[in-house]
């Protein structure tokens, strides 16, 4: 596989691609994409021979972020983390029709965070009991909830103070929009 060509394909999909230092983070690429692009990305990854490592989520502001990890069973090593914020109605498209293994991972995320995977064939509790369908145990309470920019790597060359200030300012409008949508996400 040609890593350069792969990067180009990701960019064509409209994702934000960032190469990370494997020795420091444990993965090679970080992709940030809109929820609508998740399905095309999954199709691309499967054709390029990636397997699905996991699907999980992180509860942060402005919205819950769904995290996918893909890796390749061959050389050269390529481990990719893809992130997408859930849409205002609390949904993300399912990739379980491309990666059947995502079926359970998505059900688990639904159990723990209440994220609805649109188009999932069987989105019923997997790990939790059926009566705990509304428990959503991994959602943070108000005082522990952090902004997503506080959970990103700080670039080594940038001044931490300067880097953080514009990032939070930029997130402001999105944060208010998602706050309005949050009650819907938890229904």
């Amino acid at each position: 596989m040609d890593i350069k060509a792969m990067q180009k394909k990701w960019l064509e999909l409209g994702t934000e691609v960032e190469q990370t230092d494997y020795a420091k983070t444990g993965y090679d690429f970080s992709l940030i994409l809109a929820a609508d692009k998740v399905h095309p990305l999954a199709e691309l990854m499967l054709t390029e021979g990636f397997y699905l490592v996991f699907v999980t989520a992180v509860h942060a502001l402005p919205a819950i972020e769904v995290v996918y990890q893909f890796a390749r069973a061959g050389s050269p090593r390529c481990r990719v983390i893809a992130r997408t914020a859930v849409r205002a109605d609390g949904t993300v498209p399912t990739i379980s029709d491309v990666y059947q293994g995502a079926n359970w991972h998505e059900r688990e995320v639904r159990d723990f965070y209440g994220v609805v995977f649109a188009g999932h064939p069987n989105l019923v509790p997997l790990i939790l009991a059926e009566e705990d369908v509304d428990l959503k145990p991994l959602l943070k309470d108000e005082k522990n909830l952090k902004d997503i920019s506080a959970l990103r790597h700080v670039p080594a060359d940038a001044e931490p103070e300067e880097e953080k200030a514009p990032a939070t300012a930029k997130k402001e409008p999105a944060a208010t929009a998602a706050k309005a949508a949050k009650p819907q996400a938890s229904t």
Binding site: A23, K24, T25, G26, Y27, L46, G49, F50, Y51, L52, V53, F54, T56, V58, H59, V67, Q69, A71, A73, G74, S75, R77, R79, I81, V98, Y99, Q100, G101, N103, W104, F112, P125, L126, I127, L128, A129, P137, L138, K146, A150, L151, R152, H153, V154
Partner: protein
């Protein structure tokens, strides 16, 4: 014959509950089987019986204190889970581990892997109706448990790795006993091969049962010996070399057929490779400290997300940690191999005989607490 009976679904389809206390599910796993006579139309695993909220617990205590929890997920690969978690924190905090500690981690992890494979070997054959082999494998396994008990202090749920090294150094007695054990197990291989692997009934029971392909493994995220039984040489110890594994000469056992017999052989041959690694590690074992000198008591992880993947006995184990800069993780996700491996069952077992379901599920080498977490 009355054709109406065949056409009326209710009369000849029935649902069979395999588990949660079925011996061949190796723990509290339940599989709903929709049957037509002896044939499985649909298989649906039901999980969650031993869910202990490990990921939730991880968000409430300092990252260092999560170490014992890792051992309780996969009780058969506890040392490898310890090692992976320690490596994750070391990667995040940028801590160098002394060489000797790395070697000790590899030696103990590989002993742990052999122990896990031996238990699987015995239990699998027990599932298939051969009672005797488990007595022999448990005898061998007992030696490993004794050796590890001396150095780790426990026999099953180890908590041996620490951030920056291991908690206790190994001594000459450990090395001597390990060497004796390697010799002993090597002496047992001919017996296993004659008693079990060469058995025609066993081979007939396993060959052509279940069929994995590399493409199917990618769709489900199946890793470990099952993936290697399809001819894909993917072992994280080689593909993403961690710790001191690059310094050892070992092979990745491969088979091509992707059936239960191929997976059986891959696992069996891995035992010998682990022995080779241990042997070389004992020969090369450097002197020195087993703990890094400057590990802060309150370990603050720089903000960002970190991933650490290691090769557990059953496949790829990944820890994913999101840190907000404090000593308590914002989020810990543990990707366990059995979870993805088991998710293949609905597709794999469609149309199988029920006795073959037992054969395929045994080949998955399931550890249920690792699936439910």
């Amino acid at each position: 014959m009355n054709v109406d009976v065949l056409e009326d679904e209710r009369q000849h389809h029935f649902v069979l509950n395999m588990g949660p206390q079925h011996p061949s599910t190796h723990g509290v796993l339940r599989v709903l089987l929709k049957m037509e006579g002896e044939y499985v139309l649909e298989a649906q695993p039901v999980l969650g019986y031993v869910h202990r909220c490990h990921e939730r617990i991880g968000e409430f205590k300092p990252a260092k204190s999560f170490m014992p929890n890792t051992a309780r997920m996969d009780y058969l690969g506890a040392l490898i889970y310890n090692q992976g978690y320690a490596m994750l924190l070391e990667r995040a905090a940028g801590i160098e581990v002394p060489q000797r500690a790395e070697y000790i981690r590899v030696i103990t992890s590989e002993l742990n892997r052999i122990q896990s494979h031996l238990l699987w070997y015995g239990a699998y054959l027990l599932d298939l109706g051969a009672f005797t082999p488990i007595m022999y494998t448990f005898d061998d396994r007992e030696h490993i448990l004794d050796i590890l008990e001396d150095v780790c202090g426990s026999r099953l749920t180890y908590c041996y790795s620490r951030v920056g090294g291991v908690c206790k150094d190994i001594d000459d007695k450990f090395i001597e006993r390990t060497r004796t054990f390697i010799e002993r197990l090597r002496g047992r291989f001919p017996m296993y091969e004659e008693l079990v692997n060469g058995n025609v009934i066993l081979q007939k029971r396993m060959k052509t049962v279940g069929h994995y392909t590399p493409e199917m493994c990618a769709r489900y995220g199946v890793t470990g010996p099952l993936l290697r039984s399809t001819g894909v040489a993917y072992d994280l110890r080689k593909a993403e070399p961690y710790s001191v594994y690059p310094e050892f000469d070992f092979e990745v056992p491969l088979e091509q057929d992707g059936d239960a017999w191929a997976a059986f052989n891959v696992r069996y041959r891995e035992i010998e490779q682990s022995l080779r690694i241990i042997e070389q590690a004992l020969d090369k074992l450097p002197e020195g400290e087993v703990m890094a000198s400057k590990v802060p008591k309150k370990l603050k992880l720089p903000q960002g997300d970190y991933n650490c993947s290691v090769e557990a006995p059953r496949g790829e184990l990944s820890y994913y940690l999101v840190s907000d800069g404090s000593d308590i993780p914002y989020r810990i996700k543990v990707r366990t191999p059995s979870y993805s491996n088991l998710s293949v069952v609905p597709e794999l077992c469609k149309g199988m005989l029920i006795s073959d379901v037992v054969t395929s599920m045994g080949g998955l080498d399931l550890v249920i607490p690792e699936i439910d977490r």
